[in-house]
């Protein structure tokens, strides 16, 4: 990962491929993909100074992978690893499936993260869980998956959109309730995602 101007960028694992219209930049004989912080909550958290260690051989369970905008950058960062991307929406998972066919460290899983046992036939214990599901019960979803899949010492990154949990409540209240609901995990870092996302918070947690 490196900085190109004000943006972050990852070294492209698939030469010449732009996944979501992001710019490709050549530097020192290598090709980089600009990581648009407005399109990716992990990208926004990194821009806001969160330190997320991505081991190049990490096994990662990604809940709410959608079409793989963010997962594609993590794929660049973990060339020897494997990213298991879960989403129950057929339209976006179809795009992620097509992307997975071009990148040998991506796995498309058509399932609902509320039912983690549905993918125990493929997902082994993992080093990291990333969750971006924008659902009212997302702390519950997280804990179920943490209990079933996350290794001891493993990390969980969550993006919380306060409006998806309750449109009427104060975001700060939602965030502190969320932290309380996952207090079995150690809170390592937290960042608000403004100006990239409104009323969003990212947490990095450790099991």
């Amino acid at each position: 990962m490196m900085k190109i101007g004000r943006d972050l960028a990852t070294e492209n694992l698939v030469k010449g491929q732009s996944v979501y219209g992001e710019r490709l930049v050549r530097k020192r004989g290598k090709e980089f993909r600009v990581w648009e912080a407005k399109r990716s909550k992990v990208g926004a958290a990194l821009q806001k100074g969160m330190k997320i260690p991505f081991k190049d051989d990490a096994k990662i369970l990604y809940l709410g992978v959608a079409s793989g905008t963010t997962a594609s950058h993590i794929s660049d960062l973990t060339p020897k690893g494997m990213i298991f991307g879960v989403d129950p929406a057929p339209r976006v998972l179809r795009d992620f499936l097509l992307l997975s066919e071009t990148r040998s460290n991506l796995v498309p899983i058509f399932a609902d993260a509320n039912r983690p046992e549905k993918y125990r036939h493929i997902v082994p214990d993992v080093d990291m869980i990333i969750q971006d599901v924008a659902q009212p019960n997302q702390s519950q979803i997280l804990m179920k998956n943490v209990n079933m899949y996350l290794k001891k010492g493993g990390l969980a990154f969550v993006a919380i959109k306060s409006r998806s949990i309750d449109v009427t409540a104060n975001p700060n209240k939602i965030f502190s309730e969320f932290k309380h609901a996952v207090k079995g995990l150690e809170l390592i870092q937290e960042k608000r995602l403004e100006p990239f996302e409104k009323d969003h918070m990212a947490l990095l947690l450790k099991k």
Partner: protein
């Protein structure tokens, strides 16, 4: 007690000290393995185990650790399992996309077509107006036909050469084709709706019924919604504003297009919208799970309509 593992390499029963006591291996072919995982092979194997007298523990064993017992290393596990999961996802996505997705594309396509027709008609009226500004014809299709016939008397408009005329007439013909395409799509939408959602169609008409499916995302999602949600589908902005700022709640979303709702007097409109939405919720469930027209449902809406109007 044995623990079970379900993997892309096969199904395994594992006893204490990681001893493999039963195995049902799958073909090392991604497509075939995916088909086995999509079907009920695993459940059958599990009931077989019960017959053999094994006591099965809840939950599943880490699949990658399970296949180590048959000598499959991590790298091979990840390589092959990924290929299997890609095939499995293809099977599952295909099964999840029903014919109701055609309905959504068709109404959205009709909207796009209408917008395009409007843009182009306006352009053509300006264009042909250079030549024949006196032509008063409100009806768009008739106006287009007049362009093709191109008969004008005394006019202050400019003259058009043969080539000038070709250009504007070609455009007019194309828009007339778009009108034909629109009529064709409308007919197709009616048929599709009668086939897939006969109850919604009977209550709301093909167009509005299709829009409700589109707003919900699928017939399945619509069938899972309570009437109160269906009532405000399409009025999400007003609803959020109500929740956040305390403005009055919306009384109706797209169901306002229903003739009985938009013709109703203001005083009873909210009540009618609520009853219609409740019937539509039932209708979508009937369409999703029975698929046949339920005459009682339609009759009960008619009765309700009378009551409220009195």
């Amino acid at each position: 007690m044995v623990k079970l593992a379900k993997t892309s390499f096969g199904f395994f029963a594992i006893a204490m000290q990681n001893q493999l006591v039963d195995a049902h291996e799958l073909p090392r072919d991604a497509k075939k393995a995916a088909q086995a995982l999509a079907g009920d092979d695993f459940d059958k194997w599990v009931s077989g185990l019960a017959k053999k007298g094994y006591d099965v523990e809840d939950g599943l064993f880490d699949p990658m650790k399970a296949v180590e017992l048959i000598g499959v290393k991590e790298k091979e596990y990840l390589r092959f399992s990924r290929l299997v999961e890609i095939e499995l996802a293809k099977i599952l996505i295909k099964a999840a996309i029903g014919r109701d997705y055609l309905i959504i594309q068709t109404v959205d396509g009709l909207d796009d077509l209408n917008k395009s027709i409007n843009i182009m008609i306006n352009r053509l009226r300006e264009w042909y107006g250079l030549h024949f500004p006196e032509l008063k014809e409100e009806d768009h299709e008739k106006y287009l036909k007049r362009i093709i016939a191109d008969k004008r008397g005394e006019s202050m408009g400019i003259e058009l050469s043969g080539g000038d005329k070709d250009a504007v007439q070609r455009m007019a013909k194309m828009i007339l084709e778009m009108y034909k395409a629109r009529a064709g799509l409308e007919f197709y939408l009616e048929k599709l709706m009668e086939e897939i959602a006969p109850n919604l169609t009977a209550l709301a008409g093909a167009n509005l019924g299709a829009r409700l499916i589109g707003r919900a995302g699928s017939l399945k999602k619509l069938s899972e919604m309570p009437g109160s949600t269906i009532q405000v589908l399409g009025a999400e902005r007003a609803l959020f504003k109500h929740l956040r700022k305390g403005t009055p709640p919306p009384k109706h979303g797209v169901i306002f297009q229903h003739p009985e709702i938009n013709r109703a007097q203001r005083a009873i409109r909210g009540r009618l919208a609520r009853s219609l939405a409740a019937k539509l919720a039932l209708a979508s469930r009937t369409d999703k799970y029975a698929g046949k027209l339920n005459k009682d449902l339609i009759a009960s809406w008619k009765r309700r309509l009378k009551e409220v109007k009195q």
